[in-house]
Symmetry: C2
Subunit: 719 residues, 2 copies
């Protein structure tokens, strides 16, 4: 169970010390002091620490932290890098609760700086004083108006609202805060810098607990502790607060740049993205997109499948908007007949009164038409959101329109989303900003925003219906005792035997250790595949370890002899457990792959894909943290690009997807029962046959790697 | 050969009549008059036509067009819809060269309006007077400062530059013009409205010929005349002027909205996009994206494969930029060692001196570092463009940075592209605007812009190297006489025979009309496939018209009997030409599909895809107008998502792509030689075998539909 610290006294301290307070214009110490004393509404004690001044701005300076008359809740440390550790020790000794290190020049410089950072972490662990930073702009509490930051921009951070931000870097973080300029209200921003102790997860936890926060935004370069991040996401989900994230590292260039910038590892983008998706975290690609979707979520929570109306006075703009909506896989609302009738009455004959609604430019000459018709659309019971594309800034005309938008927004609960498309930003734009009706920066970004908003609605509905699971790292289920792994499953035969015991269909198989045993098995007359059984041989086919089409006792003995000769010539040292004879499975279905690996950050993760050329050339796989629910498993399979193949492409019969989902759930249960033992599972191929088949799903080859067994072992390949 | 009109006297008329000039404030007649008389620098004659006024603004009013003392070059028609036709007739009779109809209320109202529009088209054709509009804001000539428009915004259209715009709709068109607000300079804008006569293609032609224009932008809802558009694109390509386009209609919602808005057909998006790509037209998805890429092109033409540098003071922002560059498939420049050495000297130790360059925030305190280091990067011989992500507006600090950017831009030929990421737009933003260094609206849009710019560089390099072809509609090649189609190719056998004559490998085959003939063919002892031969039966397998594995004379007779019985019971009326026996082709390669169809707008188009599940479930096909060059054919095949399969996925041998390309070129030649005869060709499957095979490429089934033959006939499917 992850335990998060209580950050109340950091967010709203009773007392603050500015260590390194300065009267040198432009210095970090001066700017920080100004923010605390001049630009904050802070009524608590403020202590200045500066050994070389008696007083600054008429406030007494203490020579060091040790001399402070009382222990402050927060010490803002702005001394030069070489003096930081000494100040920190004094802070810890004096009983400071939180030390915020603004100073740079540590881990980002290389090994020497990393060494100092490790000392900071140790100090935090040993003393109980929590450390924030270093190499960061500090903590910006806008809603309580306390600027524990050196940023000269704090004085302008006045657009307060229900968004909480937790980032690593400072530059991109402040970019988010500046969305205030277009009416997006931010409550507070934590920028953790090198994060030697407190990290983004701690602040997500805090923001979940603060009632003034509706939406949490986060920017991640590296992920140091996946489990804590998962726990924080889980808390947000439970509290019903959406989390929006931007994670750098979707390309090799980005991964390399992150390493250079923060010495952090970006992690595998596909793993991170799968985790975000599963936890209901909305992942975006750009900083403006974070604030777009956060603000729409702050204005209104989405239904499970939003029905969208498009309304405007430019036929071209509403057509383009509808086009984007269709291309994004979103749904245009079908307007109520009453709405259509009323619009027909209000608008001229050449207006388009079905969604998308084109009022035509008539509304420029008679703005009342615009307001009356929008009111009708916004009150239509079939509409969950109205998009208002505005291609042109027509000065006062446009301002009249946006004022009407703002008035209608006051009357309805669904969000009206204006799309300001022009590069000109006149009074009409300002009207929207003042009304809190922030527009994304372009039409395409607006539709992207709605797509993400709608996605969250769908995720939330599934979550609320109990169709989601909590990752093993958070839930640590006891697991079914019957599925508990005891013996050795290091070779294919043992792995399959165990899977069979777990209730999974695998080919019938007999292990033979002598020619006589082989002959006895071959005597069945069935067509068989002979395979060497050895934990030391990964690619059996490559070394002559597989013979197909074995038929009859003599043939079985021949096959056994061939295999043992061939294998021993390639791998003289391999331990051979024998030769297995397996029933031959005809090519009678679709091959899937099912994999499990244990991600170092997030724990056991399932990978599902369609086998053969599709997985290899198109990388068409989907991932999810285990355990998964039936609904999640179905969604995973359906979201494969090659999903149609399972539905029966080329006139073939549909495959037994339910049976395949049952296999996934069984694998999930198996991992849950053996979290401590299973490193990796590869079921490849898994044959999925048409619905109604006697054996709908059969695992043709299996590799299970258990804890302690070398993980770097090459994966098995079905012959 | 497409003949375009000479629009000189429309763009720069010697005289203008305002028909429907008005003194009613806010009316279209008043606004138009004001634009011509007050907001234009127009020194030619201006005639006012208004039957109910003696004079307006001290200018004499003529009662009608007929009474005008001379024939004006341009008549701006702003009379009510019911009076428009009469005015037009007078204009034509009086010798007006161009009538610009601003009035609305025609085709957009429905059938009655469309009828009037047809009269307009007839008048234009009969009289030689060219008509512009109706239902449009007019023609906005900013570079010559002549506003032949009713738009009240014309007075503000003052940011002149080398971009020419031709659109259908007015709302989205003016949106483009307003990009002037961020420093994008526009020379002129034609907004054609319902386009009863002059259309977008005519203005692309004009813009190609005007030396003041560097880049042409166009917005399309419907495409009425594909051939004229192709001809205009072709002229632009020859002149080396890039064309950027946004075409509505990528989703069913958009297609429906276009129909509702303009009564135009959107056309198939995949066909349009393939045409744009082939003609070097840069297709974008949003209006801001048009101006982003147009402006970058106006500032600098791209090399074939640009090497990108990223430079900034925020480690997070440069990392995110690099991440996007990688995800877009673009290339980061490898900085010269001299550059790295100089940066190491200029910047602090913790800066990142390899691309992406992170100067760190040090440059805020010492802006000279920024300028010196950017100068080094911008002069690096390995760098073709520098991206400058700016996450924060830091007021005066940022303004100093952007002023430095502008100074360096003056010194170098490569473009510096600032990326203004913040929602705050202070003096630093204005500095960029004034310097003509327009920023896209977000980081993701900036990288998208560079991707398109780079794409055009690659296209241009191929074009300049003569590796492109001109579509059949433009070139009408004579074609090789030997490939001229004479006989009937309506059944599979005849189609394949002809393909064989053309030098294409098809299975050996014998048509049999009697049992004796069948027995004789069967006597070869080879394994054969028997197929019914009939132009009336599309799906042979479905009706028992195919028997595989035929072996020996008796078996051949049996197969023939079975086929004739089965087919006649399903299709008693089908004309049967006989039964063909074809060599059986083993499953020894990768199946491709090759198709040709004649697009009603653009002419003959080739479709290429990988067969089987890939084409059916993933729609993995690529298209190109015929004829194609060898280089184009290679690019087409390589751009398939499933391209890796041809390279030899799963350890298989690489397929003979060169042989497949030869087939595509042969098909191209065949169509070129039979432009008037061929409606459709379907070669499916085409077996492509490993390189070095004796028969590298074999067409296993073929359907050819010639002119006059019902095109709706169902396509053939290989048994």
């Amino acid at each position: 169970m992850t335990v998060f610290p209580d950050l109340q006294r950091l967010v709203r301290p009773d007392s603050i010390a500015v260590v390194g307070a300065s009267d040198t214009a432009g210095s970090i110490g001066r700017r920080t002091l100004d923010n605390v004393t001049k630009h904050s509404d802070f009524s608590g004690e403020i202590y200045l620490v500066n050994a070389r001044r008696e007083a600054i701005d008429g406030r007494i300076c203490y020579p060091d932290v040790t001399s402070l008359p009382a222990a402050p809740d927060v010490a803002l440390v702005a001394v030069p890098a070489r003096a930081v550790m000494d100040s920190l020790h004094q802070c810890a000794d004096r009983g400071v609760k939180f030390a915020v290190i603004l100073t740079s020049g540590f881990g980002e410089l290389g090994e020497d700086g990393l060494k100092v950072q490790r000392q900071m972490t140790e100090l935090a662990n040993a003393s109980g004083m929590r450390i924030y930073g270093p190499n960061c702009p500090g903590f910006t509490n806008m809603v309580d108006r306390i600027g524990m930051t050196f940023s000269p921009a704090f004085a302008d951070d006045t657009n307060i609202g229900p968004i909480g931000i937790a980032t690593q870097g400072g530059g991109l973080g402040r970019n988010l805060v500046q969305a205030g300029e277009r009416g997006v209200g931010v409550a507070m921003w934590a920028s953790l810098g090198n994060a030697v102790d407190l990290d983004v997860a701690d602040f997500i936890h805090y923001l979940v607990g603060d009632d003034r926060i509706k939406v949490i935004c986060t920017l991640l370069e590296g992920i140091n502790d996946g489990a804590r991040l998962l726990a924080a996401f889980d808390e947000a989900a439970q509290a019903g607060k959406p989390v929006v994230t931007l994670k750098v590292g979707h390309s090799p260039y980005g991964v390399a740049a992150v390493r250079s910038h923060t010495a952090a590892l970006a992690g595998a983008a596909e793993v991170n993205s799968a985790v975000f998706e599963q936890m209901g975290v909305i992942e975006v690609d750009d900083t403006d997109e974070i604030m777009d979707v956060a603000w729409l979520l702050a204005r209104a929570m989405p239904p499970a499948r939003p029905r969208i109306a498009v309304f405007g006075g430019s036929g071209g703009a509403v057509a383009l908007t509808a086009d984007h909506i269709g291309a994004a896989g979103l749904e245009l609302a079908e307007l109520d007949e009453k709405t259509v009738a009323e619009l027909t009455e209000i608008l001229p004959a050449y207006a388009a009164v079905r969604n998308p609604v084109d009022t035509t430019a008539t509304t420029i000459s008679d703005p009342s038409l615009l307001e009356r018709s929008l009111e009708v659309v916004a009150n239509d019971p079939n509409v969950d959101i109205v998009l208002l594309p505005i291609p042109i800034d027509y000065g006062a005309h446009s301002a009249a329109s946006t004022a009407a938008f703002a008035r209608i927004q006051q009357q309805v609960d669904i969000p009206l989303l204006p799309i300001w498309m022009s590069d000109r930003r006149g009074p009409a734009w300002q009207t929207l900003v003042s009304a809190g009706m922030s527009s994304p920066r372009s039409l395409s970004k607006a539709v992207l925003t709605v797509r993400r908003w709608a996605w969250f609605g769908g995720w939330r509905a599934a979550y609320d219906a109990g169709r989601s699971t909590r990752p093993l790292l958070l839930s640590r289920p006891s697991g079914t005792a019957a599925l508990r792994l005891s013996g050795d499953v290091s070779n294919e035969l043992a792995a399959k035997d165990w899977l069979r015991q777990c209730g999974i269909d695998v080919p019938r198989s007999s292990l033979t250790r002598t020619d006589a045993e082989a002959a006895a098995v071959g005597a069945s007359g069935e067509r068989l595949v002979a395979k060497v059984v050895s934990a030391d041989i990964a690619h059996k086919s490559d070394v002559g370890g597989v013979v197909t089409g074995v038929h009859g006792p003599d043939d079985a003995v021949l096959a056994r002899t061939h295999i043992l000769d061939a294998v021993s010539s390639h791998h003289p040292d391999a331990r051979i457990d024998g030769v297995a004879f397996e029933e031959m499975i005809p090519d009678d279905g679709t091959d899937m792959i099912v994999g499990v690996h244990c991600d170092p950050g997030f724990g056991h993760m399932l990978t599902v894909g369609i086998g053969g050329l599709h997985v290899e050339t198109l990388n068409d796989v989907r991932r999810a943290l285990l355990p998964i629910s039936e609904s999640q498993a179905h969604r995973l399979v359906r979201s494969l690009r090659s999903w149609e193949i399972l539905q029966g492409a080329r006139g073939e019969e549909p495959r037994d997807v339910d049976g395949f989902v049952r296999l996934l759930l069984k694998v999930s249960d198996i991992v849950a029962a053996n979290v401590d033992r299973i490193e990796e599972i590869d079921l490849n191929p898994v044959r999925v046959r048409p619905t109604g088949s006697r054996r709908p799903v059969t695992v043709l080859d299996a590799l299970i790697i258990t804890t302690g067994r070398p993980a770097e072992r090459a994966r098995n390949v079905h012959p």
